[in-house]
Every structure is written in C-alpha cells, then in structure tokens.
Symmetry: C2
Subunit: 173 residues, 2 copies
Amino acid sequence: MPDNSSLTPEQQEFIERIGLYFAQYHLSRIGGRLLGLLLLVDRPLGIEEMATMLGVSRASVSTNIRVTADLDLTERVGLPGDRRDYYRFSPEAWLRGLEARITGTRQLQRIAEQGLAALADGDTVADARLTELIDFCEFAIAEQRATIIRWQERRDKLHRAHPPPHQDAATDD
Amino acid sequence: MPDNSSLTPEQQEFIERIGLYFAQYHLSRIGGRLLGLLLLVDRPLGIEEMATMLGVSRASVSTNIRVTADLDLTERVGLPGDRRDYYRFSPEAWLRGLEARITGTRQLQRIAEQGLAALADGDTVADARLTELIDFCEFAIAEQRATIIRWQERRDKLHRAHPPPHQDAATDD
DNA sequence: CAGTTTGTTCAGTCTTGACTGAACAAACTG
DNA sequence: CAGTTTGTTCAGTCAAGACTGAACAAACTG
C-alpha cells in the first residue's frame, strides 16, 4: 500500500497508467511505475523515498531502477554531501525509445534473411513475402533514422528558443 | 514435439525465432510461431495441419490464430469443396504493425495530458517534461503517418513493376 | 573499533496467463 | 437418423517471472 501522503489520487492514477504503458514494453510493473513517478516530480528521488511513495520494497526499487538506468531512461545523480543514490528521468529517454525501435526492426530483418535462406525450392509465394519483409525492414529503418534526426533538430530549435529549466542535482533546495 | 516431417531444422529455427520476436509484442508464443509458419509456407494451412506441424494442441491453434486474424495479421480463406478453415499470412500485416504504433503513441499522449493536469503548482521541471512528452507524441504520430503513406506509395510502385504471385485460395493444386 | 545507513543479492512465495485435454456445438455425410 | 469432421470453450495444470524479506556488503560515523 503506497504512502500517499505526498501523492494526490490523480498523480497516483498517472503513475499507474504510465506503469501499465511501459509494462507493455518489456519493463516490469514497478519499473514502469518508477518512470511514472520520476516523470511527475520536480527533483531527483532516492531509493528509499521511491519505495515509500510507491509502497513497494527497497529491493524492488533497487533492481528495477537499475534496469531503467541501463536503458538510459533514468539517470543516477549525486547530491553533494549525501551519499545516497538519486535518480531522475533522463532527458534522452524518448530518443532511446526511437533508437530501440531501430534495433527491433534490424532484428526482424535478420530473421527474415535466415528464413529466406531456409525456403524450399519453388516456394515462390513465400519467397516474395520474405523478400518484401526484408525490404520493409530496410525502408522502416531508414524512416526511423530520419525521424530521429528530425526530432533532434526540432528539440535543438525549441531549446534555443526556450531553454529548459536546468535541473541538475545541486540546484535542489 | 513437432511433427517435423515437413519442416527442415532451418525452417523450425525460423519459426522459433519469429515466434520469440512476436511474443515480445503482446502475442503468445504460439501466436508468434503461427505467424512464422505462415510466413514460410506457400499455401494456406488448416488448423489441424498447423497443430501437427508445430506439435501443439488444436485448441491452442484455434485460440491463437483468431487473435492474429483479429489483428489482421492473418486472413481466413476458404478452399472450394472443403469446409475446413484455412489461414494465410496477411499482405497487410506490416501496415497493421505501423498503424499499431500510432495507437500506442496516442495512448501515451493521453496519459501525458492527464499527468500534466495532475501536477502540483510550481512544478516547473515536471511541467516542461510532460509538455515535451506531449509534443514528442504529436511529432511521432505525424512521422508515423508520413511513413505509412510512403510505404503504401513504395509498395504500389513496386507491385506495378512486379505484380506479386497472387495466392488466392483457389489456385492451390 | 562497534554501530548506522544504504544498496544489492538471493531463496522463497505468489500471481499471471499460456497451454492442454476433454467436453461441447455445429456442419456435414451416409 | 446416427456417425464423422471440424472448430470452440473451459476447467485445470504448469511454468515464468515479479516481488518480498532477510541476509549480506560497503561506505560512512562516532
């Protein structure tokens, strides 16, 4: 049961919804909730703190926050004069998401190539289908790369106009 | 244990790899293997046939092939003079995959909007983060739409040059 | 040094949901 | 009609893996 002293019901609902959303994408439920929590707060959070706010064990937070950090969806930051670990949502998270799609598509392309090689002679329909799949992957990868570049350009442009409130660890209270 | 009389080890490996690939994307293992099998063969397959080839129960094939058909990843076709159900891989499958991404992004955007509304006053960092997420979703949806259009154009162009071997149910032996 | 705080790891529990076999329904066959 | 073929549904089993508490390790404090 979460310690909801610091979270409104609306915030809890958001965390739960984000949790479910990311759970679709190979994160555990708690991993997803951690992302939701970190999206919502204005300062980096410690492990014990996150465990309390979500009402889960420290062990779970420790295990799952590391997964998100390995994926560069969160960042571990230090606070001066405090030896605890703090985490915040990574500014690169959405970019990493786009990159992950490319990896997935490349993977599918490799499988399709192996499949094409495994066809029986004279399987013309399957041959055309797998050839089209390989082509589709090639196309999709090029599209995804272009999207990444356009996103970076767009972000650069926006940030030059409206620099984001820079949230480094030392600026907190 | 599969009846591998009609499948080479390379083909079985392909089916297994495709199975795992699609299992990442909210399909059951067997659902994924069915897609792999249908990608590989040159003619529509019946339920009993698929069950035998994969070494799984008819019940499982029945349940899982329906899921793939509902997603329009496979198509049910009839063979004249045969009352059994046959299935083949859908030519629209990859298009449906692209469309599914849009749905997922739209979903994330809605959640982000709810989150933005749930913020505490004065949470400037979180506000900027969620506003950026909403903008990211908008951007990604536009990109995905454009990709779909370009894929359709590309496919039309290729098919006008090299019409695919049309595999309707009646043409099989 | 002993004691505290913090993070990690691991064995065990529990939940989820995939898969099966069997019962059933529907369509057909003689 | 009785019998067969085919597909679906459902209760039950089983496996995967998420989560926990407890033990542990490491860094710090007095």
